[in-house]
């Protein structure tokens, strides 16, 4: 028996010499909606749009309709998918964004047919395939690519041999911190998970502002873990010197099994890497691998609804390939953090904390308390491997006001 069905029908007709008329219907077990668009044939610009609900869930769903008008003027190109998701999907309704995506696909394909028919008027024997080849030879046309992409560059380069990271301080034997923050009697507390702009485009905080805030609230250090980004030792050294504050390097790498915090690997990993392959590289480099927010979004359905228990979750294969588990993460719910903590405990894996800060006010929400002073990357690596640390809710513990921002988006879309 079907558990769920969704049908989408889209048709495109030529309204007049310059305009396409697109009609889209989405009908599924939960929602029913329709849209009508007029699109310019020459430049694939959305000239007008109308939409309506046939069925919806909440009493507030109708308030999504006005946001459809914000796509007027958009051109159907490679960016249209991300624009629709951001404007219509986030501000209005993602199901309208979904059917609009399909309508844009239909418009781009219909425009090809119309251009071919126009070309055929002068050359009746011109085949559709021949026409497309001529167009391709003449350069890419607007709207030739669909479904649209919201990320540039997807080629996954073959991995070079792993590079063993030699911490700068060991190579030069220098003390990297002119002004040493002393470890308090409460240990040496480092936020092991922060994101800076522009290294992480999703962050709004510069490295300088994060460091200043970390110092202000009494952290002993922070670790820069930008998404698939390798900080150079020179740049981090410059930041250390300028701020007189312990700053360490990490990298949040997206794998097929989710996000991993990696320490001690210098390779700039692009695209999505298999966790097993990343593990091999990290081991070869003498590095350390922490699974970040391992149950982010898991409990929406998998918990009570599907019966996922910490015992079952601990059997997930990914835990064979990590050295530690991030059990306090600032971007997930308390329930998800608690679940991660139970799983880490049942596996006997060390537990860490990190804010996952993308804004200045978030740094230090969670952090990791080490029991000795840590000055260098080599010392951090030794400390991580010693397993002698605990995750802490730093801001709450120290009475620093909680972050002011709402949780960042971590939904599937």
């Amino acid at each position: 028996m079907l558990k769920f069905a969704r049908n989408k029908v889209v048709s495109a007709a030529r309204k007049d010499r310059d305009t396409l008329s697109i009609h889209g219907i989405l009908d599924d077990d939960i929602y029913g909606l329709e849209v009508d668009l007029c699109v310019g044939i020459k430049d694939l610009q959305i000239l007008s749009i109308a939409g309506k609900w046939n069925r919806h869930t909440t009493p507030e769903c109708p308030s999504a309709i006005p946001y459809l008008q914000e796509v007027r003027g958009f051109h159907i190109d490679e960016e249209i998918g991300s624009k629709l998701n951001k404007i219509v999907g986030r501000k209005g309704c993602r199901h309208f964004a979904n059917i609009l995506n399909e309508c844009c696909y239909a418009a781009a394909e219909a425009a090809k047919v119309v251009r071919w028919e126009d070309a055929k008027a002068a050359r009746p024997d011109l085949s559709f395939e021949g026409f497309l080849k001529e167009e391709a030879a003449g350069g890419a046309q607007v709207g030739d690519s669909w479904p649209p992409s919201d990320q540039a560059g997807n080629a996954m380069p073959s991995p070079p041999p792993p590079h063993v990271a030699v911490p700068r301080d060991e190579r030069h034997g220098s003390n990297p911190f002119p002004a040493r923050p002393e470890p308090s009697s409460n240990g040496f507390v480092i936020d092991l998970h922060v994101h800076t702009f522009p290294a992480s485009p999703c962050s709004s905080a510069s490295a300088d502002s994060l460091i200043e805030e970390a110092r202000r609230i009494g952290l002993n250090g922070i670790c820069l873990t930008d998404h698939n980004h390798v900080w150079t030792p020179e740049k981090v050294e410059e930041l250390r010197q300028r701020h007189g504050f312990p700053i360490f390097r990490g990298n949040e790498i997206t794998t097929d099994q989710g996000d991993m915090l990696v320490f001690g690997l210098e390779r700039d990993v692009r695209g999505i890497i298999k966790l097993q392959d990343l593990r091999r590289e990290v081991l070869a480099a003498g590095g350390f691998l922490i699974v970040a927010h391992p149950f982010r979004g898991f409990l929406t359905f998998s918990g009570e609804q599907l019966g996922l228990t910490p015992e079952k979750a601990a059997r997930r294969p990914l835990f064979q390939f990590v050295d530690a588990v991030e059990v306090l993460n600032g971007k997930v719910t308390a329930k998800e953090n608690g679940f991660a903590s139970s799983v880490a405990a049942s596996l006997g894996l060390p537990a860490t904390g990190g804010s996952d800060a993308h804004e200045v006010s978030e740094v230090g929400t969670y952090a990791t308390r080490f029991f000795g002073e840590i000055r260098t990357e080599a010392e951090l690596m030794r400390a991580l491997k010693s397993k002698e640390y605990v995750p802490v809710a730093f801001r709450r513990e120290t009475g620093v006001p909680a972050r002011e921002n709402r949780p960042a988006e971590v939904q599937a879309s």
């Binding site: 558990k3 769920f4 049908n7 048709s11 501000k91 394909e109 929406t300 599937a412």
Partner: protein, 165 residues
Amino acid sequence: MSDNILKFSMNRCLSVERLDEDTLRSVCRLRDTFTSASVEILAGLPDLEIIGASGEFHHEWQKVPELDDILRKLPGVRIGAGMLKIIKGLVGEEDHLRQLTYMVEECCQGVILSLTKDILVQAPVSEEGKLEFFSKMVRDSIRLYNRCAAFAPGSRLVEGIDPNQ
């Protein structure tokens, strides 16, 4: 030439069914003027992890010769937060792969929607009951806050909800 004849038409059908206690099957089928394709995903429960993927793809001028190899990369990916980035990275975003990537995403969205439906069938019929039901839904899953117009600040459904708590 008639202006009433369609220049392009498309049907996309997504279906989700429960194969057994531990498995959901989600299938996305596409038939349009140029394309005939289908993608099937098997999702393991309760983890919601992709445990199998298969498909076929026929297009008037684009081929996907590496289809089977691409789909073999998917098992192990979890359906949920962060999956779109992973799917795009594994399947690819070159022109000839975009439709395939989209269909894999649709299959995964179908799994999520099928589970959402299980919750939504419990919603009361009355307006007042619905307001209470969906408001509780946001409280229980704070990520829904400001996810769409219905759950945006100013909506009756999020009155009194502080996302920072």
